[in-house]
Symmetry: C2
Subunit: 346 residues, 2 copies
């Protein structure tokens, strides 16, 4: 008999169909192909992207030239535009505004690699730090209320360029799923007086069966009501609502956790396409007792689309306990040097 499980934050029910349980190799992942074509994100091609907003560079190197380690540029085809007024207005019963906002690309390495797991820990640290830098800068703009950082790896996850990069979309509204997390976690706090995410961390660490990784400052687990096979969340153990308040020592530790967890998913599922998304509180809030920033990692394994989109109704063929067990067992490729050697291409 399958389970019906309720997400304690937003109240979404998910069918976890044990009877359909699959082992990781049963999934028909589309291998991430390496395309041999010109890449505008590789070092030396800086003039093929819009001019950089910020870059971490070697001493003496010049903007939009070689010598960078991480580079942030405007998206060449932005979903939102930075210039202009919001011009909020109605059209009969409908509400609308101008699409003012920011859409930036974080190029995570000068070398042509395609996944976070192919970066060194120190590179990932700089990526995590530049996320923070951009949020701190953009939240000064009073028109903008939310900064969404996400990464698509592989065509099946929506990546149109394969060179490892993340994106930042900054909007004048709060995305509905974050809004639901905010209101759901506030309701939990009203009722029980606690942060629902802190409760989840405590329970997951006590039960262990869904934990993928446990470090002094962070925990990674497959959530109880996982929508997708091998969905994995990473949360800081110390309560904090805003990602951009992250401290240097936390970034250092998180980089290792990211690299390990994504590496494990890639070994277990044979290099699947995946997305990760940083869920953080809106710009226009102070520290919130009920909201807890976190990272959601979702491998792209299931094919159907419109139905889940249309109903919010998910059928997950892999219980998160099984996923966590698989991920706990596999070893991410551990040596940075080895990884660099075996995967070097550019």
């Amino acid at each position: 008999m399958p389970d019906l499980r309720k997400d304690p934050i937003v109240g979404r029910w998910v069918i976890v169909a044990k009877s359909r349980a699959k082992r990781p190799h049963d999934f028909d992942t589309t291998p991430r192909r390496r395309r041999k074509q010109f890449c505008p994100f590789c070092e030396g091609n800086e003039d093929k992207t819009p001019g950089e907003i910020i870059a971490y560079r070697e001493p003496g190197s010049r903007p939009n030239g070689k010598g960078w380690r991480v580079r942030v540029v405007p998206n060449k085809f932005p979903a939102l535009e930075i210039e202009g007024e919001l011009n909020k207005r109605g059209e009969g019963i409908y509400d609308m505004m101008q699409g003012v906002g920011a859409h930036e690309v974080i190029i995570e390495s000068p070398r042509h690699v395609i996944s976070t797991s192919e970066l060194s820990e120190s590179q990932i640290r700089e990526v995590l730090w530049v996320y923070r830098d951009r949020l701190v800068d953009l939240k000064k703009d009073p028109r903008l209320v939310y900064g969404m950082i996400f990464k698509n790896v592989g065509a099946a996850a929506g990546a149109s360029l394969e060179h490892t990069h993340s994106q930042l979309i900054v909007t004048p509204i709060v995305p509905i799923n974050v809004w639901e997390e905010m209101t759901g976690s506030l309701e939990f706090q009203h009722y029980r007086g606690r942060c629902v995410y802190c409760d989840m961390i405590q329970q997951e660490l006590a039960h262990e069966k869904r934990v993928v990784m446990d470090t002094p400052g962070f925990v990674a687990f497959c959530p109880f009501a996982s929508r997708f096979p091998f969905e994995t969340w990473i949360l800081p153990k110390v309560h904090s609502s805003h990602y951009e308040k992250i401290q240097k020592n936390e970034v250092d530790e998180l980089a290792g956790v990211m690299r390990q967890v994504i590496g494990k998913i890639e070994v277990a599922l044979d290099q699947p396409a995946y997305n990760y998304i940083i869920h953080t509180a809106p710009f226009d809030t102070q520290e919130l007792g009920h909201y807890h920033w976190h990272i959601e990692i979702m491998p792209s394994l299931t094919k159907s689309a419109g139905f889940e989109w249309g109903t919010g109704f998910y059928i997950n063929p892999v219980p998160p306990e099984d996923a966590a067990m698989f991920l706990g067992e596999v070893e991410a490729e551990s040596s940075e040097t080895e990884t660099f050697t075996s995967r070097r291409t550019g």
Copy 2:
């Protein structure tokens, strides 16, 4: 400058990026292939499915034999199971219950065709009527509260068998998107004293620019805050919250609208994969003044997945006004005989 548009029912904001506007032929639709393999849904293969729950049959024909026009069978790999108790329980902060419910397949034709547009109007009428019959029957079960009818056409939309069929999943909980529609429309009614869907119908018919089809009893339009290119909704003009209360004359008219609208989408977009979902009120409610049943049709054109799933944040490159204009201009293949001839395969 793109628009940010708010769905007046659930409050979701969508980026409608005019600057990326595409004409229908710019989409890279994966053609729906006809696979030459054994089909358990074709007439003569009745013993290859579980035994039928109901079928509309020719006089004198026998259950699970030839001579049916529409046939409903249990899903061979059900997401939920009909026998058993709900056994609602907690696991620490989490809530769960047994996956009790129904998962049925509606085989819409004895012939091997793949889309609603390839059925005659009288066949579609019987399909729409059997949906009603199954809902009326299943809502007698006090364990079950929601019946979700949907159709996946094409592998990109999640169909694993190509022979035209729909599915019915009946659950002991209300899917979250329906719940959001219920609460959002109730809020609208509290504030304005009207049904938000009735308001939308009135405004769309007055403005015309998003209307795809307008018949005495039904309207089809591309919604103001469309999440997907060419997303199209069909609503009854007379307020009604429960699909299963549909009358014979409404079914007759709706069949023609469904055939036309899906036919237009298929001509405009070159036979894309698509989903449709019937949104209706939960079983355990009486007629509701604030909720309005409707059908949402979603062509599968955009590739990315996890990001939209993860955030509820959609970027739609085709303004619904443009989509409605294209759909209004194209003619669905009009002659049933012609359609049958040109597409006959088995």
